[in-house]
Amino acid sequence: MIQPAVELRGLRKSYGATEAVCGIDLRVERGEVFALLGPNGAGKTTTVEILEGHRSRSAGEVSVLGHDPGRNERAMKQRLGIVLQQTGVDEYLTVREVVQMVAGYYPRPRDVDEVLGLTGLGDQADRRVKKLSGGQKRRVDLAVALAGDPELLFLDEPTTGFDPSARRQAWETIRGLAALGKTVFLTTHFMDEAQALADRLAIIADGTIVATGSADELIGAGSTSTRIRFRLPETAELPDTFAARRDISVWEIETDEPTHALHELTEWALGAETELLDLEVTRRSLEDVYLQLTAEGGEQ
């Protein structure tokens, strides 16, 4: 059996009396893009920094590529690439020099020009890091993480603070890494990011994993999976039998039987000679699942 890239059993981390991570089990297979999704303060960064060897754990078993990150072994770091939430590089060096410098720390680095190409920094190669924009500096972070040609990459909120087009570019880069066969472990509080990138994801709230699976599995896991939304002209009043929720002027029906519900709704509308304005039928989104699960977690 192939060893998983990351395996956690009963991981706990407490700071004094507060418990940031309260017993997490996770398994990430080789070649997988895995997302740890959760609101700020849920324990994402604590978890990923324990995996990277930056923090100690209070309890539990942790394996990263077969190594115990608590032991801070050079052999493990030679196989890892890390993008922290905030990192610095020497700003007076050029982009190429920074990548070259870091590549030299690894036994089998990736070609520097290839790394610059992968991260879209080819044109900036000979500029000093000081002169780059915020988004470009973030790409330098990624380039530095890729310099050693790691098997496993940790990306802690890789697109926080990006504009929409920079985010799309970063996603393309991350997909490119997956295509190279790398295992990617990312944290994010963006649902669309997890949905767009991850093969599997886990939702974390208050230090506890509240759901694990593919985005499709998580969305399907709820009982009510389709949502019908519409507005009504001011004169019309919807009968209570539809069990609809009203949010200002928008009505919303959640149902497991969308065909049936729609049929009844349109039949009523035709009979009442009214119009279902802005009618939309959507699948329950990951966002709905996420908000529901993280809200439940918050009440515990």
Binding site: R74, I82, L84, T87, V89, Y92, V102, Y106
Partner: protein, 246 residues
């Protein structure tokens, strides 16, 4: 690559980054020379024999203790140290690179100040005592680098670095026969200054400048500096932090 060649490579990158900020580089070297000129104007050219070795001491302490304590604290706050910690570069090789660069700057300063003293004020470089002088300089560079790293562990954030570093070193320089001659100082102050390492570094350099080869190796002074260096290493190992503190 093994750790030693990585450390040497690291010195190269530190050095390259240093020269890319010309104003900072210029004043690193100009600062001790400005002091030297002012002291010689204030106290007359006769004092040059005192102030040349004194400013060498000041230059070495600035390049190692002051510079390392500040630069490393800033690098820590910017997350540079944490990033390095996540790579296979051995932590000691990174710090050796930092120290190595500081020592290179320190030795450049020694050469510049000694040259300045010889050319402008006719203070002869004691070539006969060169081996002893190199020993004193190497030991002092190592000790003050270790103390600088230790102090960076005590500094809470980069904004506090200049205040704390200056407050720890300037008073010591004033009571160590570097900026002010200590002949007329009260006895107790002389005793205090002899407990600290800068005084011994200054004494050694003064003796070597005054008596040349005849001075021999100032073993007592070297011993005290080594002792302080060891305190620095132990303190640095206990206090040093790779994570930004907030």
């Amino acid at each position: 690559m093994n750790g030693v060649s990585l450390a040497i490579r690291q010195i190269g990158y530190e050095n390259r980054a240093f020269w890319r900020n010309p104003p900072a580089a210029f004043f690193t070297f100009a600062f001790p020379l400005i002091f030297m000129v002012i002291f010689n104007v204030l106290f007359g050219a006769d004092a040059a024999g005192f102030f040349t070795p004194a400013i060498i001491v000041f230059g070495v302490v600035s390049a190692t203790y002051t510079n390392l304590a500040m630069a490393v604290t800033i690098a820590r706050d910017e997350g540079i140290l944490k990033r390095i910690r996540g790579t296979p570069l051995p932590p000691w090789a990174y710090l050796a690179g930092r120290i190595g660069h500081a020592v290179v700057i320190g030795f450049l300063l020694v050469a510049i100040v000694a040259g300045f003293g010889a050319l402008l004020y006719g203070v002869e470089v004691p070539w006969g005592a060169l081996p002893a002088m190199l020993l004193v300089l190497v030991v002092s560079c190592a000790a003050f680098s270790a103390l600088g790293l230790a102090v960076s562990g005590l500094i809470p954030n980069a904004d506090a670095a200049p205040a704390i570093v200056n407050a720890t070193i300037l008073p010591v320089l004033f009571i160590s026969n570097v900026f002010v001659q200590m002949e007329s100082a009260p006895e107790w102050l002389g005793t205090v200054s002899h407990l600290l390492p800068v005084r011994h570094f200054a004494n050694a350099m003064m003796d070597l400048y005054a008596s040349g080869a005849g001075a021999g190796v100032p073993w007592k002074e070297v011993g005290v500096i080594i002792l302080w260096g060891m305190i620095g290493v132990v303190a640095a190992l206990r206090l040093f932090s790779w994570e930004p503190r907030r």
